[in-house]
Symmetry: C2
Amino acid sequence: MTIQQNPTNKAIWPGIAGGAYKPLSNHDIKRIHSTALDVLENIGIAHPTPELLEYALPKGCIVGDDGRLKFPRALVEDIIASTKKQIPYYGVDPKYDFEVSGESVYTGTAGEAVNILDYKTQTYRPSKLTDLYDAARMVNQLDNIHILMQPFIATEHSEDLYNHDINIAYAQLAGTAKPFTLSISQPKHIDPIISLFDTFLGKEGAFLERPFCYILGCPIRSPLAFSKNNLAVLIKTAQLGLPTDSCVASQAGATAPAALAGAMVQTFAETLAGLCVVNLVRPGMPMCFGMWPFITDLRTGNFTGGSGEEALIISAAAQLCNYYGLITSGPAGMTDSKTMDAQAGYEKGITTSTVALAGSNIISFYPGMVGSLMAQSFEGMVIDNDMLGNVLRVVRGIEVTDETLSYDVIKETVYGQGHYLDHPQTYKLMRSEFVYPEMADRRLPEEWQKDGSKTIYDRAHEKVKEMLSNYYPDHIDPAADIRIRDNFPIKLKPADMKPGNGRWDKE
Amino acid sequence: MTIQQNPTNKAIWPGIAGGAYKPLSNHDIKRIHSTALDVLENIGIAHPTPELLEYALPKGCIVGDDGRLKFPRALVEDIIASTKKQIPYYGVDPKYDFEVSGESVYTGTAGEAVNILDYKTQTYRPSKLTDLYDAARMVNQLDNIHILMQPFIATEHSEDLYNHDINIAYAQLAGTAKPFTLSISQPKHIDPIISLFDTFLGKEGAFLERPFCYILGCPIRSPLAFSKNNLAVLIKTAQLGLPTDSCVASQAGATAPAALAGAMVQTFAETLAGLCVVNLVRPGMPMCFGMWPFITDLRTGNFTGGSGEEALIISAAAQLCNYYGLITSGPAGMTDSKTMDAQAGYEKGITTSTVALAGSNIISFYPGMVGSLMAQSFEGMVIDNDMLGNVLRVVRGIEVTDETLSYDVIKETVYGQGHYLDHPQTYKLMRSEFVYPEMADRRLPEEWQKDGSKTIYDRAHEKVKEMLSNYYPDHIDPAADIRIRDNFPIKLKPADMKPGNGRWDKE
């Protein structure tokens, strides 16, 4: 492999390049691509809005007798070629900035769940705004999670969408200094959210100069139809020049063909439609290409996010998109298990490692998400952060150089000490070649038994309490916070945002 | 990808071809290979026995002034080229026969642990002969485990090695009709074991005509020394024409270089030495190439089998060996967790999926093994069998054909019913495109909660009791069993081998 440029002296770092796993041949890729263009040209996408048509018709799109918007092959090819192939991600704190390109791999939470899995009772309870703030504080402390993508909604505000959207924006901003994303379904909420961020920054227009938050949506309702509000959000973000992750979550066997190749064709066509929208509005605009084919368990019709088929198809999607140079996101780390057990472990392990190895750029990985995206587990976030350490180490690969081939080290050892434990090479590589997990147990069985035979889930619960009881980021200036609270209906109380609030320190 | 030949109409089958994950470049591979040949030619292997020298010296090997056996480059190259590239595996029942070649993937238990993890007490207890018989009965019922490789020893007989070896041979034969392997360290025990198998078959010499059991050992003590007894076993099996899996379990940072590339160089050289021994004794003989570089946690010196580094290096080893056409085994599915929790799940999921995707032929996978190979969990075997379903489905890949691209299916659906649930393609592909797990939970959260919020580990315990309380294979003919018991010190009592023995049906 090409030797990875390591900007640190650690064993893993953000932006390690994937791509060593290639489930498809180049011939397969071209056939999927070509059939997807047939779909866009001949079948097209239903329910284009007048707003979209104003952009699309002058560029050569056609509305058929069937009312569907058809995209000429050459237009789609031109847009794939001309869309920008790098996307900057800005942290609230610039130390978390990075630019995504090529096959570099970053990770984010995601999911938009509606529940929290309670560790003690093993039941699902509705997720609340304070949970979102807490999840944001977790992400800020978890090294292997690079973006806070909205993991769940604030269910107590779900009736009043304006209140909801303003408050999730504030909760995530208050909890993390990393780049973050929000899922917003009402275009009219975007300007107030930007105004909130400008208030935080102390200057009108400051946010769009360095946007630390991207606004996401799913502009397609599979099969092959636009979703009105999300399409309007997509157009609005493109108008603003805000990059987005336009994700299309079809479901093979239900809203996409059961044949995995066919599900790829349709989902590629659908995601390309989103890329076309963005580039029709603003030529050359980059977009994180969220081609997210999901899988149906055909015995029940239930969605399954932890299956082998899911690992395979999202890996193939990453490879397909990389072939055309697109910046991709891929939904890995889901599980159908309802709790953080061995099933959650292996389903998350398999989907995440394959997708990362295939070179998905933004692993819209679901740290802590359980129950087929129905609930978030705080303990799971801690466990999955550890797991990501293993995955990223695999993705990094093995550097083969004169030095690492170690002929002289072997010779010295064989004719010398007989083992490598004390060799200078071993000391030198101790931190740069090996990842040391924080939660994974590597003790002797006796030590584990003496410590109460705990599972990693038990230990993670202790860790969550430790991480959340005392860690309160303070990157919102108190004066700015007063201005924000004066201008927006902020529901998080200052008392919720400091020790003694009773959520994690009461136990 | 090349479309896989599916001999069944199921979604997965034994012998699916891997190879889509390639952690190394061809240039890397050639450099590792070349440096390993330097090691064999110049540093060589310590402690060659007189028996080995009789074979080795006439073929051009040299004993240096340092007493080490050096292998000329050309000899090693010739042996790599001329060793047979297929290995037949015979079931006790011929319906389990298969031949390993190319990048086809099969799985087996393995580990030689010394403990059983008790589900109820969460403690480790010594493994016994009846446990081995029970584990063999489990493998016979688990579809995704193709070979019973000896998972643990019978600790109560470990003082008397003859009794031990005869009894583990009998226990595994009695419990499974699949191909199996034994780890035997005394060459003088091999003839009696073969005699036992001949007695089972009712004819002297019958076993070697269709050997359903291969005898394994680790002929190398890293770094770069022969292990006397295991070397003698290797020579003996080669003399008999019995293929073997000669595995070399070095440990990067302790008995091999800390640089992963260097650990590969040394372990490749060591495993090649085993291949040379086999082919010096019997030219052209195939050998399962067990290049098993392990990893050390350098903070403690403990072995870690569940790390990202382990997944990476065994995947790279599989790719390296496949490049030279060697039939390989690879140690995946280990975990450092002491129990079957989320850590066990993700460590097993990551190592197993990457190694399978790299095309290791015999995944000497550790179903149910926990605690860095210290203990076997029966529940874990059931869980890992399910996990293997996901892994093998990923390895199979996506078939891209006119039919699977589904253009017409998409068109019919978009202009027709609007969903794919009832489409004839969906019905047709329901069983052949998708794997349905047996243990993994895909229910709705309410159903899971109503059923007691159990983990997969809890459900697996119920399953183990069901599988072991009533399933007693009867492929040993009663008359043959009497002859075996007359001639060998068989410790498993007939009462241990039928319902009511109190091991699994007492609860």
